[in-house]
């Protein structure tokens, strides 16, 4: 295979986590190359709810600190908007919304409990079915499509390189280190490799003899025609995540996921199911004043989860120049901080602003190989093993 110009840091995966890490590295002067099999942000990174309110994460404080600066730091618009409003249609939903708010409070953020009247003032399209809500003076949301492109462009502006339509096929290991990344476009030498390949991160770990338990699942979202802008677009509840975009569209997801198998992702057609109807119903219940709005599109995406739903951000002990990075299906909002943390892992050997010990791979040392079957995190009509055998190269 043709030897191509490598980089100090080669990042496998042009999703939001890899791009952010690459951007932080590039702006620190590190020579970076991102390898993306399709187009940057083409999978879950560019097709999610855009939420940026994850104060329960070790990256949470830095997430909150960074988002308001991101447009300026990147030089491109992310459409970040501050504040979140939680709408509750039942006591249980209110308890859940309060729980999120209280986690924020423990980290020093302000919030208000809203009665129905106060809620209606902020969100005129909620209905009489709402019992109240929460008004978070923290958190927010941004446009995933615009943000992934912003990372990619900003990374290039700092001298980093991105190769799209480049599929990684193998990792060359020598002397306990990965020395090169093999792709459909040639082989690229590397001093450090970051594997941030979403659901495929586990496959690459596997190539190195490392077990990273990941289960991908398909999830769906809908978007309506635009509605005049509300005071805050970050309104969610009733089992939905999402937002009103700055264009005015209501964009929401939630509900049942479908566990799938990694080799099945080869056909990236992002299908929907009739679940879009159920999503429309939940959204109309959440915002009855908008029930007449037309749904103009729906889409699906694939997100991966670890067994406990927490990220794995860790430097392997062997080979010792590889960093695994999966955000376990919650990567977009945390990306400014997660990317920064990963860049510090590369440059300083550890994250300087947060304790990432909860995200270590070692917590899965005892995880049995058939963990997905045991958990029921499988496609019921095709076994994981069968599909893996079929899809193995």
């Amino acid at each position: 295979m043709e030897q191509r110009k490598g980089a100090a840091v080669v990042i496998i995966g042009g999703g939001v986590t890899g791009l952010s890490a690459g951007w932080w590295l590039a702006r620190s002067g590190v020579d970076v190359l991102v390898l993306e099999k399709n187009i940057v942000g083409w999978e879950a990174s560019g097709r999610n709810g855009g939420g940026a309110t994850h104060v329960y994460s070790p990256f949470g404080l830095e997430e909150q600190r960074l988002w308001p600066q991101m447009d300026e730091l990147l030089g491109y618009p992310t459409e970040h908007q501050p504040y979140r409003i939680g709408v509750a249609l039942s006591e249980a939903q209110l308890a859940l919304a309060r729980r999120w708010a209280e986690i924020g409070e423990t980290r020093g953020f302000k919030w208000e409990l809203l009665d129905r009247r106060q809620l209606k003032e902020l969100v005129p399209i909620v209905g009489d079915n709402a019992i109240g809500g929460t008004y978070l003076h923290f958190g927010g949301h941004a446009n995933p499509q615009r943000t992934v492109q912003a990372y990619a462009w900003a990374l290039q502006d700092h001298g980093g390189r991105i190769l799209q339509h480049t599929t990684v096929t193998g990792l060359t290991t020598r002397g306990g280190r990965v020395t090169a990344v093999e792709t459909t476009q040639g082989t690229f030498g590397a001093d450090t490799v970051i594997i941030a390949a979403g659901p495929q991160t586990g496959l690459f770990a596997d190539m190195l003899g490392v077990f990273l338990p990941l289960a991908p699942a398909r999830v769906e979202m809908i978007a309506t025609e635009p509605l005049p802008l509300m005071r805050h677009g970050g309104v969610a509840g009733n089992g939905l995540y999402g937002r009103q975009t700055l264009r005015g569209n209501l964009v929401y997801g939630g509900g049942p996921h479908e566990w799938i198998n990694v080799p099945d992702m080869a056909a990236p057609d992002h299908p929907n199911t009739p679940l879009v109807r159920n999503l429309a119903r939940r959204l109309a219940e959440l915002l009855p004043g908008a029930a007449h709005l037309r749904v103009i599109r729906a889409w699906g995406g694939v997100a991966e989860n670890t067994p406990d739903g927490l990220p794995v951000i860790d430097r392997l002990s062997s080979p010792d120049n590889v960093i695994l990075a999966t955000m376990s299906s919650v990567g977009f909002g945390l990306s400014p901080a997660a990317g920064k943390g990963i860049s510090e892992l590369v440059m300083h050997g550890r994250c300087l602003f947060a304790d990432l010990s909860a995200l270590a791979l070692s917590r899965f040392a005892d995880t049995p190989p058939d963990w997905r079957e045991r958990a029921g995190w499988i496609s019921t009509s095709a076994s994981v093993a069968e599909t893996a055998a079929r899809g193995s190269r």
Binding site: E225, R247, P256, S381
Partner: protein, 559 residues
Amino acid sequence: MDFDERLCRRDCRPGLAVTIDKRSIAEKAPRPERHVAVVVVGAGAAGVAAAIEAARAGVEVLLIDENPVDNDMMAMDVPLYFGQRMQPSVRNRALMMERVVETNPALAEAHEAGVDVQLGTYVWGAFVNGPTVRELPGPMLGLADDRRSWLVGYDRLIVAAGARDVAMGFPGWERAGAMGANGAVSLLTRYRALGSQRMVIVGSGDLGLRTAALALESGVAVAGIVEVANTVRGDEAIARSLAGRGVPLYIAHTIREARGRVGEIDSVVLVQVDESLKPVAGSEREIACDTVCLALGLAPNVELLHLVGARLAFDSALGGWIPELNDQMQTSVPTVFAAGDCTGVHDAMLADPEIARTQGRLAGIAAAQSLGAATPPKIPLPHRGRGQGEGAVHAYWRTWLQSLLHAGGWEVNICQCEEVTRRELVDVKPPRYLKWESPQMEARSLDTMLRDGPVNQDQIKRLTRAGMGPCQSRRCREQVGLLLAQAAATSIDRIPLPSFRPPIRPLPMNVLWPTDEPAAMREDWVSWFGIPTQFSPHWEAGMAIAEPTAQTRLILSDE
């Protein structure tokens, strides 16, 4: 730690051999309320013929057509480019239903043959199992009328969804009265509700000439036919007859702008073009009209075929992306057949509906046969030719686009819904409402994007929003593709097909929503996976592996 127990505590159902994640779609995938052996989508010449043949072969057939389309949908230029030229009578649903039936006598024949005919019914989605969807009980369509949506399962699907107008913008094309020829024909014939007194027709192919003739017959004055090429493109006999009836033909002309009172077209300004398609100075001519009817050509409606996963191929002579078909009108998906204009449209099909009818018959017979119905008589293979050898329609569309660029400039909206100009498209500018300016953004353009890979319409759509509006890119898809191809110095067939997403008809949430939602769907619904540790403070020691707290239990049961 006991891994097994940790994962299964919330989800394991005692007595089940297989552990089921209750938060997943397993065992609660939406089911169709009805199942039919053969569903035919579209009651045009091809669809009705298909339905009749399949029914005569003894198979249960459901024939669906969205006409009469409700007024709100028409106002969004869905499914056709109606251009706000509907008479108020289109609001009278009963009257429109009567007319749709009356003007399509074959519907009665279908009914006689035992076909279940459902009019005024939208097909907004097709859902099939595939690599990443395995839980559906079978293939199904999403249907809806004005009040509700429902699901119908099928064994065989015949798509006869027709074609829609290809539009090209010019200054003032946002005004009421800019419309498509198929939209005009539909309003003239099916609805008898075209609200136009005097139209200028753009394009002198058979579509334009036939629309002009039909308009004259219906009492609509035709103030002119505009053709950018140096000769009339369509049937000479029709052209002569139109000229004989006093219809002026403006050869080697293009549109400079449409003018009028607020929001209306009262006149159109034409300008002659030279060999390089540039306006000839002093050749402007203003023509009074209330309608500018775009008859540039038709694009096959392949949305449903795309959604079921049928392989599509690009054939410019047949209007662009069309399904790959075998000689039984069967797509690459064995359960799905296609017939009529949606399989590729050319001038001969406009002149002779028998071509579409034959395709439909063949599809109907093949679908019935594939279900084990008795072998019917052989019919000759339908003509699916190359029109009249005029070759690529896209070259013709490109010519129009060039002339309109020269005459109208780069500040014309290419996407009306999202108000994106031609310049903003090729400069890949973020939408105006962001009011974003930065030196970095200024330095980005399609050219810089091309360094990173071939042009992709979906990617540009996400960044500029061209094609992201309520008309679901019906008015801009082709012109956006052509302009991007030109700016990228490539040809449109090399640009990947921009995606189609359900619902392929924009439907209100309170129509789309299910009234038959199963209890489990509601009870087990969570916003995101329902993994108890996922949204708990990660720094609480052992949180990821410990028994969920009372509070995290609340997260679990957020209903």
